[in-house]
């Protein structure tokens, strides 16, 4: 419990430890700590900048996407309109074509009918002449012949 020479010994020991710490422990430790602090600060700043850039990029990409969507919608609409036009056009063409064909056929029918009628008439006329010749060759029965002729003429006229 008494104060003795140990006191002086302890003071010297203490000083030695303090000087050792001051020379060899404190400077490298604080240096490392400062350096890490600096790095962390830089890292945080980088992260902030990265975040900002990401945000900008997101905005830009959204804009591009919106534009693309608009464009696509426009394209589809154009295509639809065009297709509609095409369909209408082809329908129109088909209608015209069919009308033309119909008309052509009708004309042909008319021509053919008149031709048939013409040939029939000629045939009937021939038959009539032949029948008349035969009648004239055999006997002239005014009464019976005239009845036949009348009938023939009536038949031809009814056609």
């Amino acid at each position: 419990m008494n104060i003795n020479l140990t006191l002086i010994g302890q003071m010297i020991t203490f000083l030695v430890f303090v000087i050792f710490t001051m020379k060899y422990v404190w400077p490298p430790m604080t240096k490392a700590l400062r350096e890490r602090q600096k790095r962390i600060a830089e890292g945080l700043a980088d992260a902030d900048r990265g975040k900002h850039e990401l945000e900008l990029a997101q905005h830009k990409s959204m804009e591009i996407l919106r534009d693309a969507k608009l464009q696509a919608a426009k394209l589809i609409e154009d295509a639809n309109i065009r297709a509609l036009h095409l369909v209408e056009e082809s329908k129109e063409q088909a209608r015209e074509e069919s009308a033309r064909i119909l008309k052509h056929a009708q004309e042909e029918i008319v021509i053919e009918r008149s031709q048939a009628r013409e040939s029939l008439r000629q045939e009937i006329a021939g038959l009539a002449v032949m029948a008349a010749g035969k009648v004239l060759d055999n006997e002239v029965n005014e009464a019976s012949n005239s009845a036949i002729l009348d009938k023939l003429i009536a038949e031809v006229a009814s056609e």
Binding site: N4, L5, T6, L7, T13, F14, Y24, W26, A32, E35
Partner: protein
């Protein structure tokens, strides 16, 4: 029963006696407390070696567990010092770190069972052994007087010898009360090392004494009932005392840097 009482007294006395070495034929002042010197030096060397080992390889990369521990301590002390002291001395922060860790380690010896080392020393033929250096007034005064010397050094360095003397003579009551000012100033200054040393000593001495009393008076089967709570509480005390010693040292030294 009387012999039992004497045994207890002897046991306690035995635990409170330093292992000391006397040069033959000299007064007791010239003796050395070998145990105090030995354990404080071992712990100090342990502290220095550990921190040097870490500091030598310290990098700004991701720290390992050991570097992390050291960094926490360094950072903690650095923050405390920066909060209190605004000068540019390269000494104060390392001084504070040394005090904090070293005093903590020495206080920590208090948590080692009181009989372990004395019994081991008994086998080696050593009669007395005290393993907690901070329960020796020589150590606590050794620390506080060194700090006191630094206080004087900085007072004189910053304010100049004449400025320091003037501060002692003229504060706090002005030029007409020089004797009173001087007495107050001297008491004020001397109270710093005395209170530093006695506070640390008192806390640790009392703590150790309670461990010894528990060991001496309580039946062995029940000792943990008192010993365990006291040890757990003591963890707080030893840390707190190390912190207080460090903090007050920083405060005193920063006061020495500032003129009134």
């Amino acid at each position: 029963m009387s012999s039992g009482k004497r045994d207890t007294t002897l046991y306690i006395q035995h635990h409170l006696t330093n292992l000391s070495w006397h040069p033959a034929g000299s007064s007791s002042f010239w003796s050395l407390n070998v145990d105090t010197l030995f354990f404080s030096s071992i712990l100090g060397v342990l502290f220095c070696a550990l921190f040097y080992f870490v500091a030598r390889k310290a990098t700004a990369e991701t720290p390992g567990a050991l570097q992390n521990l050291v960094e926490v301590l360094v950072d903690f002390v650095d923050k405390q010092v920066k909060d209190t002291y605004h000068g540019r001395s390269k000494l104060i922060a390392p001084l504070a770190l040394t005090i904090f860790v070293w005093v903590f380690l020495m206080n920590f010896m208090d948590l080692i069972p009181v009989d372990l080392f004395p019994t081991l020393a008994g086998y080696l033929g050593l009669n007395d052994l005290r393993i907690v250096p901070t329960t020796d007034l020589n150590l606590t005064f050794g620390l506080s007087l060194t700090v006191f010397a630094l206080i004087l050094y900085y007072n004189i360095k910053i304010k100049g010898p004449w400025g320091y003397v003037k501060e002692l003579l003229l504060h706090p009551f002005g030029v007409w009360f020089i004797p009173i000012n001087l007495i107050l100033g001297l008491v004020h200054e001397l109270a710093k090392p005395v209170s530093l040393a006695l506070r640390l000593f008192g806390n640790l001495y009392a703590g150790e004494l309670i461990f010894i009393l528990i060991a001496a008076l309580v039946p062995w089967g029940a000792q943990w009932l008192l010993g365990a709570p006291w040890a757990i509480f003591h963890i707080l005390i030893i840390t707190l005392q190390a912190f207080i010693f460090m903090m007050l040292t920083v405060v005193y030294l920063s006061m020495a840097h500032e003129a009134h």
